[in-house]
Structures are given as structure tokens and as C-alpha cells.
Amino acid sequence: MSYNAARPNLLAAPAVLWLVAFMIVPCALILLFAFFERGVFGGIDYNLNLDNFRRVADPLYAGIFLRSARIALTAAGLAILIAYPAAYAITRALPTRQPILLFFAVLPFWSNYLIRTYAWIVLLNREGLVNNLLRGLGYHGEPLSMLYTEGAVITGLVYNYLPFVILAIYSTLSKLNPELIEASRDLGAGPVRTFLRVTLPLSLSGVAAGGVFVFILSIGNFVTPALLGGGRFQMVGNLVYDQFLSANDWPFGAALGMVLITLMIVLLMLQAHMTARASGETRGASADA
């Protein structure tokens, strides 16, 4: 590898400098803000204390945290329930078709988040497509109010993040050693038992990666609750948004942001731990087989 004894660090330097200057320093800055307090006129009083973190624990805000967590957890759970069979079906398709199916499953994920959310406004509102369809099918009651409900928010979150979960689960399922499944079948286990005892446990790291991703992005989301929840469903993301853009309490907003980041780091570490354990199991299992 004499080629890039051409100083690897020098090659990485510009990007690393950029990320340090515009990602790490700003994040450190708001970490610092979180320990100060809001000034009388909305500025920052450099008065070191932990009040903001105490406020996060205040029942009002803790309630919002818990509710966002519940919504995010529901979204993650539903996304996994839909994505798993889809990912599994892709691994069972012809090998030449798999990349194409996967590409089209992931494609929506890279397209505009706002537009994908807006599509649900069109479908769910009182004059929307779903209500029209119901009327066409002979339903004559009051149009259903599906928009601006918790269900609409959860639907929007699942819809937007589903592609990533499919990708995450597919990538563990496709690496699964088929000999393990054959071995299980040869030893007399039926398809259901083989799935529950072999396939599912070995694909849990992908499930965890997908779930953590949906959970983190959902709990910090402010667009979906604003658009599909009609502003009636505050999530942590909306709370942060308000502190910075309307309440003008940056230190408190920063403290909320820090709680989000801490949650994210803890979940990612848990997930890394699970992945490491799962790959250990696969190795052990392969050796046994």
C-alpha cells in the first residue's frame, strides 16, 4: 500500500476541518448554552446553572417527551412490522431481481420529505381521497376527520422512514448463511420453528438498526407533527423549534437538543452492542454448522 503513504491524514484534513468547524464546534456551543439561562430580553445570561435540565424534567415537558417517545416507538414498531416481511420477500426473490427491488424500495427515501408528507394531507383530509372513496363505496355519514390526529402523525412517520428499515433488515437477512437454515430443516424443524429460532434471532441487528433510526428521527421531528398533526401534537422537535424561533429561549432549547443527542448516542451504543453480539452468534453458529 505504498500508494497513499501519500499522507492519509492530509487527504482527510479538509473534510475533518469542515466538520469540526461547522458541526462539532456548533454542537459544543449549544451544549454550553444549555448550562446558562435566558436573559430578560431574550439573549443569554452567562450564569452557570442546571435550571434548564431541571425544566426538562418538569411534568409539562416530561409529558411531551413521554408522548413523543410513545409516538416514536409506535412508529418504529409499525415500520418494523411492515418492513420485515418486505425485506424477507426481497431476499427470497430471484438474485438478479433483488438489487432492483431494493433500489425501488429505497428510492422514495431519497426524495423530498415534505412532498411525501403532503401526499398524506391530500389523502386524509375531510375533502380528501380516502373520504371520497368511502363515499363512492356508499358511506353517507359525516366525512371522517383523519387528518390532524395522532394516527395521521404516526402514518406519516412510518411512511417516510419505512424504506430505510427495509434496507437495514434486508442487509442482515441477505448476509445470513443459508446453510444454517438448511441445517435447521435437516434436523427436523419446520419452517415456522426455523424462522423463529434461526432467521429471526440472526436478523435482530438489522431490526434494531432500523428501529433506532425511526425512533431517533421521529422523536426529533417537527415537520410531520406540524403538517399532519395540525400543530396539536407537540413532539420534542416542535419544542426545540419553538424555543429557538418563537419563545426565544435558546438555553432551554439547547438543553432539549442535548437530551435528544444523549438519547441518540445511548440508543446507537445499545444497537452497536446488539450487532456485535449478533455477529458473534453468527460466527459461533457458522462454526457449529
Binding site: 475533518v16 454542537c27 431519497w110 415534505l114 412532498i115 427495509i166 431517533i216 426529533g220
Partner: protein
């Protein structure tokens, strides 16, 4: 064996239906003369015409293009160099891995408020330039991961052969390494471009109060906040068309790798 494929097909049909139908409805409605989801009054392109007459939307489209092109150029260069640097290391550096990975997982709302605080502390006037700086952060991380995936399959012995035959490091890079990673570099650039065109939250916080730096997603957000406007359907169709084209192209260029 045939029969065992049927449940899989049903699942895939249902899931792809769920993923694509809502979007297909938008595309269809964009050609509806009445503009309403309730009644189809005939095929028309008048909503596309209305877009062309809307100065705000055209201005926002111009801003989006400036931001996306600038952020793509900078992030492609930085991201590719970062990938080369990371793959050339004898040992993986945990810190470097974490720094390069962070922009892809950090909640965008956190990065957005951090950047807003940072720029305002430094008294930097917000505008298109601050959006560009911010977009480069996550763009470069994605470019880097696409290029690294390609470098993993790169045969370094070719580079050694080139050096043994007397080519300089510079010549070797441009004649050997770069041509071989170029599809991934372009694929990464297209991905960065799409991400920039579609990014909303970070732009929203780093654009400042002035109307002058509104991007398309910001414009769309203000239009859909309070209900449905038929012009949005047309705009949404155009934007999705651009994204899908860029991504198909990116995938085709980098077709040895899975997405």
C-alpha cells in the same frame, strides 16, 4: 417452488403500493384541470403553467439550484478526499469513523439549531452562503460513504504497478485511482445534489429572516402549512422527477454496489 413465491409477491405488492400510491396520486392530481382531489374535470397542464408565472416559486427554484450546485461541488471534493484518506490508513481510526458517520445520524433539528446559534454568535449574516456551508456537512458524509464502498473493491496492486513503472503519485492518482473510482464520485455527487435540493430543516434555520434566501422546500412548506394548493402538486411532481432521475443515474453509474 413456484407456489412459495406467491406470499412474497403479495407482500411486495402491498408494500410497494403503500410506498408509491400516495405519491402517484399527487402526480395524477397535478394534471387534473380542476386542481381538486374530489373531481376529475379533465387532463390539463395549466398548473405547470401557473408555476412558470409564479415569481416566488421561480426565485426559490433559482436559490435551490445555487445552493445544491455549490454544496455538491464542495462536498464532492471534500468527501472524496476524506474517503481516500480513510481507506489509505493502515489502521482504522475510531474518532475519524465517528466524525464521518455523525452527520448522517445526528437529528437535523439539533444540527439546525446548533448552526443557527453558531452563526449568530459569530455575527455571520445568514443567507444562501450559510445554507451552503451547512449542506456540505451532511453531503460530504454521504459522498464519502459512497466512494469508500467503491475503494473497498479497489485493487491496490495496480497502483503499486504504476509506481514501480516509474509514475509519480500524482500521475498514478489521475491515471489509475481516479478513473477507477470516478463512477462512485459522480454517484456520490448526484446523491449530494438530491439531498441538497430536498433538504428543508437545516435550510430553514440557516437561511435567515430575509425572503431573498428562500429555497424550494421552504416555499413548499409555507404553501402546504395551511392546506392544499393545486400548484404544489405540479411542483411536487417536477421535484420528484428531478430527484428520481438523479438517483437512477447515480445507481446506474455505481451499479456494482447495492444502494
Amino acid at each position: 417452488m413456484r407456489n412459495s413465491r406467491i406470499p412474497g409477491r403479495l407482500v411486495l405488492t402491498a408494500v410497494f403500493g403503500f410506498l408509491y400510491l400516495p405519491v402517484a396520486v399527487l402526480v395524477l392530481l397535478s394534471f387534473n384541470e380542476s386542481g381538486l382531489p374530489t373531481t376529475w374535470t379533465g387532463f390539463s397542464t395549466k398548473w405547470y403553467g401557473a408555476l412558470l408565472g409564479n415569481g416566488k416559486i421561480l426565485g426559490a427554484a433559482g436559490n435551490t439550484l445555487v445552493v445544491a450546485v455549490a454544496a455538491t461541488i464542495v462536498s464532492t471534493i471534500l468527501g472524496t478526499l476524506l474517503a481516500l484518506g480513510m481507506e489509505a490508513r493502515a489502521r482504522k481510526s475510531g474518532t475519524l469513523e465517528a466524525i464521518a458517520f455523525a452527520p448522517m445520524v445526528i437529528p437535523d433539528i439539533v444540527l439546525a439549531v446548533a448552526l443557527l446559534s453558531f452563526f449568530s454568535k459569530l455575527n455571520v449574516t445568514l443567507g444562501l452562503h450559510t445554507i451552503i456551508i451547512s449542506h456540505v456537512i451532511f453531503d460530504l458524509a454521504f459522498v464519502c460513504s459512497v466512494v469508500r464502498a467503491r475503494l473497498k473493491n479497489f485493487d491496490y496492486s495496480v497502483v503499486e504497478a504504476s509506481r514501480d513503472l516509474g509514475a509519480s503519485g500524482w500521475t498514478t492518482f489521475w491515471r489509475i485511482t481516479f478513473p477507477s473510482i470516478m463512477p462512485a464520485v459522480i454517484a456520490g455527487a448526484l446523491l449530494a445534489f438530491t439531498l441538497s435540493v430536498d433538504e428543508f430543516i437545516i435550510s430553514f434555520f440557516t437561511a435567515g429572516a430575509g425572503r431573498g434566501s428562500t429555497t424550494l422546500p421552504m416555499q413548499i412548506y409555507s404553501m402546504i402549512r395551511f392546506g392544499i394548493t393545486p400548484e404544489v402538486n405540479a411542483l411536487a411532481t417536477l421535484i420528484m422527477g428531478v430527484s428520481a432521475t438523479a438517483l437512477l443515474l447515480s445507481q446506474w453509474l455505481n451499479r456494482e454496489q447495492l444502494p
